[in-house]
Amino acid sequence: MKKAKGKVVSVNESLVGVKIIEGAVINGEVAYIVIENDKRLKSEVIDVKPEKMVYLQVFEDTGWMKVGDLVEFTGLPLAVKLGPGILGSVTDGLQNPLYELAKKEWFLERGQEVEPLDNTVKWHFTPSVKKGAIVTRGDILGAVPEKLFQHKIFVPFSLQGDYTVKHIVTEGNYTIDEDIAVVEDANGTTIKLKMAFDWPVKKPMPFHERSVPVEPMPTGIRILDALFPIAYGGTACNPGPFGAGKTVLQHSLARHSQADVVIIAACGERAGEAVEVFKDFPELIDPRTGKSLMDRTFIVGNTSSMPVAAREASVYMATTVGEYYRKQGLDVLILADSTSRWAQALRETSGRKEEIPGPEAFPMYISTLISAFYDRAGVDILEDGNIGSLSIIGTVSPAGGNFDEPVTQATLLSTGAFWGLSRALSDARKYPAIDRIDSKSKYPSLLREEEVSFLIELLRDGKTIASNIILMGEKGITDEAYILYQKAELLDAVFLQQNSFNDVDGVTSPDRLRLMFDVVREIIETPLAIKGKEAIRSHFNFARQAYIDWNSMSIDDSEFEKQKFQILNLVKKRAYAKENV
């Protein structure tokens, strides 16, 4: 098919109207608008109208565009290049590597495109099929070592039907631009295959055999792992007003989650936050692999001052890369911060297209897009029997911190876990400021079901008594109720809260979580023989102090066991023997 050409007719910020001169146009295809003779601005067809008019959303600043500027269509949808070399890199929302761009300019000048994957690197390829083999899409041709993994080289997922391998290269070093295999379809047409291929970002990669997320993914954050867990292949959202700790939580998840690959989609947020990640992570060692944390990380940065239209692309690109690494049989985690900025980008474009607005001027279809996005997460039982998973944790930034708005509501319907961040908790310096009562998760916890109910019940009781104390004062309630209140407070202070600046307390392994839970439960279930509010408070102050000291001790610490018994003794000293009552 001949690629279309057109001329610019109208310009309204990022929305550009184009009259087609020749060729046919595909909705969703990529086009380049040529301005000032040589600057090529990447854009995407988002609307096709009568009289050969199409509308493009431009991924760059449209300043200095003119009516009559030439538009060249590519015939191809917006795609991401998939192959070895993605891990450890930092790109903009259109997969341009930022370090490469920085070699030329201080600023992100428009019209710059760089090879998404380094095509000078020689990868050591080991073939795993022989000449004459019959292969279909998703079959493995061989593998190259990439950072921490054997990166499998697939028959591209875009190929349909059976192919015969006509030629495969011998073991050796190749770049992603070199042909590594030639395959032939039933009609005798041959196709040359390389180690990298393109995949359209908006098209979910097919599952081989989709399965249900049931295995909890340890995050190192106790309140999540115990009360509101996420499973491998699951989805979660953390809405919250500004200043409630969304970013700190996301950074902690990026560092400590037990995933093989972590993809950070910095969508419409502060550039400084992405900078912290990609400047710090190379220096940090991942204790699970002993290698740099950056080796398992990929960052897509379309930060708030970059062109708005590319926000959507950045989210989809991260997801497609995630699906690709799931196909590698890995556990992938996507942190999308913030999905609200993506929704706002859609709102801006929708407004310029003069679509009839829905609530708060968001387009009517926003909820469909959000659910379709989270649906790309999941567990896949792969062709070779391995299991891969893709989990998505999306940040939501609701206007005014009010969860009753379209993006939060659509996200709640689409995700399996809800971590509501609260400004009241963050003002009280209770990290993580995840609402203890309103948050929920449908995934299994690292603790037993009965244990989770036990914790939640205590927290509810504690909250009720706390409000009674405000109304009636400490003197207005019984010692028994006051003890229960102090137990809930203790649970919150020593188990649910974590000191994110402490290397030990900042991340808790599943084994340690179990140990900590058992101790805290023993404390809570020990009946106490203390009379008087002052004495009760003082007792719990000491217990809390001892437990917090324990929290910052490493399991290998010689004092660790001693401290544990000290806490328990402290409590048992004040216990009463039940039979004497």
Binding site: W106, R110, G243, V275, G301, Q344, A345, A361, F501
Partner: protein, 443 residues
């Protein structure tokens, strides 16, 4: 480039003009030529066939259908030179201080954002001498942070204090919607502090058109960014960004844009972000720090709300005090572990106790606070406010930290403050030996 003049104006609105013209660039600068020969600037904001929509820098009032429009073949630019120091400019970049016009390089306005990999992780504390900032929400070089306050609070005084008490190489004041006396105040403060030779002002007052007001942050930031690239540490003050957002709302409304929340355009977040994100500590160059003002009644209003999601914290000013709760510096952790070894711990202890006392304030309303500890918490709260929350009390960080210890010792026992024994041994003042706190209380 050939400069073409067109005469067939179609429509004139409050800030918008539409005309038929050809070969016009998006965002091109134009001038509207009045029959009298007077000229006013305008900028192309949309193209549709031969229909060109322009934003009028001086507003639509007085523009006639027999005005001509000349397209200037260049985008909006602003002058940039060292000679601008000490000068005052309007929102369209023209000097308004009766000084001479300058021949200077022209630089682009509202340019693209800096490549994130060219940013450094901010790591230098800016000492302001304001205890609530230096101790609790430390200001860091290249931070973008506004003051949230009701209109009428002394935020401009604090802004001027911070700018003149710190070590900025260049101060750029962007005044949006200033009352004349506020403009005068800034000018006077800068002169009194002897900072005039390193200060440039871009001023929009209520008598000027709103489009000029909209331009002020862009001009201030474009010039600031240039100085930063030359290796200078630049402070840009923007007051008041709520007025700026209001102008944005008016202009969007005039263009028939669909409003999102409370009439503000759906891109309010992106518009604010593209300005605030100019703050940066640049690898191999200088830095740009933005201190803004966001006037507000309620923090959930769209302007402070969107701003809070963009900036790296905020200083919350209320009843003339800088509040602890509601204020935040997202960058403080980058620097407050390298000041004094007790800084972080005492900051947290003071905050925790203040938070505890807040609960007592609530309970007090029900008359249920009678125990000694609660009463001491309430006393502590009063001392805290009196001694620390005054934004105009100047204290070196070390003195302010000592003051915190004094306050703790005045109201609490050592075991009540939740600080490590090591720190208590090093810093706890024995009764009667306060370093900073006056011994006698005048309560």
């Amino acid at each position: 480039m050939l400069k073409k003049t067109y005469e067939n104006i179609d429509s004139i609105g409050r800030a918008i003009l539409s005309i038929k013209a050809e070969d016009v660039h998006n965002k091109e600068l134009a001038e509207v030529i009045y029959p009298s020969g007077d000229k006013a600037f305008a900028q192309v904001i949309a193209l549709d066939g031969d229909q060109v929509t322009l934003q009028l820098f001086s507003g639509g009032f007085g523009v006639s259908t027999d005005c001509k429009v000349r397209f200037l073949g260049k985008p909006v630019q602003v002058g940039f030179s060292d000679d601008m120091m000490g000068r005052v400019y309007s929102g369209n970049g023209q000097p308004i201080d009766n000084g001479p016009k300058l021949l200077s390089d022209m630089v682009r306005v509202a340019g693209p954002s800096i490549n994130p990999v060219k940013r450094l992780i901010p790591k230098d504390m800016i000492r302001t001498g304001v205890p609530m900032i230096d101790i609790f929400n430390t200001l860091v070089r290249s931070q973008k942070i506004p003051i949230f306050a009701k209109a009428g609070e002394p935020y401009n005084r604090l802004l001027a204090n911070i700018a003149t008490q710190t070590d900025a190489d260049v101060i750029i004041i962007g005044g949006v919607g200033l009352k004349y006396d506020e403009y005068h105040y800034f000018k006077q403060r800068i002169e009194e502090a002897g900072s005039k030779s390193k200060t440039i002002m871009f001023i929009h007052t209520h008598r000027d058109s709103i489009v000029e007001g909209l331009m002020v942050p862009d001009l201030a930031l474009a010039v600031g960014e240039r100085f930063a690239l030359q290796g200078k540490n630049v402070f840009v003050l923007l007051s008041d960004m709520t007025q700026w957002s209001d102008y944005l709302r008016q202009v969007a409304n005039a263009q028939d844009q669909i409003p999102a929340n409370q009439g503000y355009p759906g891109d309010l977040y992106s518009q604010l972000a593209s300005r605030y994100e100019k703050a940066a500590d640049i690898d191999g160059a200088g830095s740009l720090t933005i201190l803004g003002v966001t006037t507000m009644d309620d923090v959930t209003h769209p302007v402070p709300d969107n701003t809070g999601y963009i900036t790296e914290g905020q200083f919350y000013m209320k009843d003339g005090y800088l509040e602890l709760f509601g204020s935040l510096s997202r960058l403080k952790q980058q620097v407050n572990d390298r000041t004094r070894d007790d800084h972080r711990s005492i900051m947290n202890a003071m905050a925790r106790l203040l938070s505890e006392s807040e609960e007592r304030v609530k309970a007090q309303k029900f008359g249920s606070v009678k125990d000694d500890y609660s009463l001491r918490l309430l006393d502590y709260r009063r001392t805290f406010q009196k001694e620390l929350m005054d934004p105009f009390r100047f204290l070196e960080l070390e003195d302010a930290l000592d003051l915190c210890w004094d306050i703790l010792a005045k109201h609490f026992k050592k075991e009540e403050v939740g600080l490590s024994s090591k720190l208590i041994e090093a810093y706890w003042p024995e009764k009667g030996t306060f370093k900073i706190l006056k011994h006698k209380t005048d309560e």
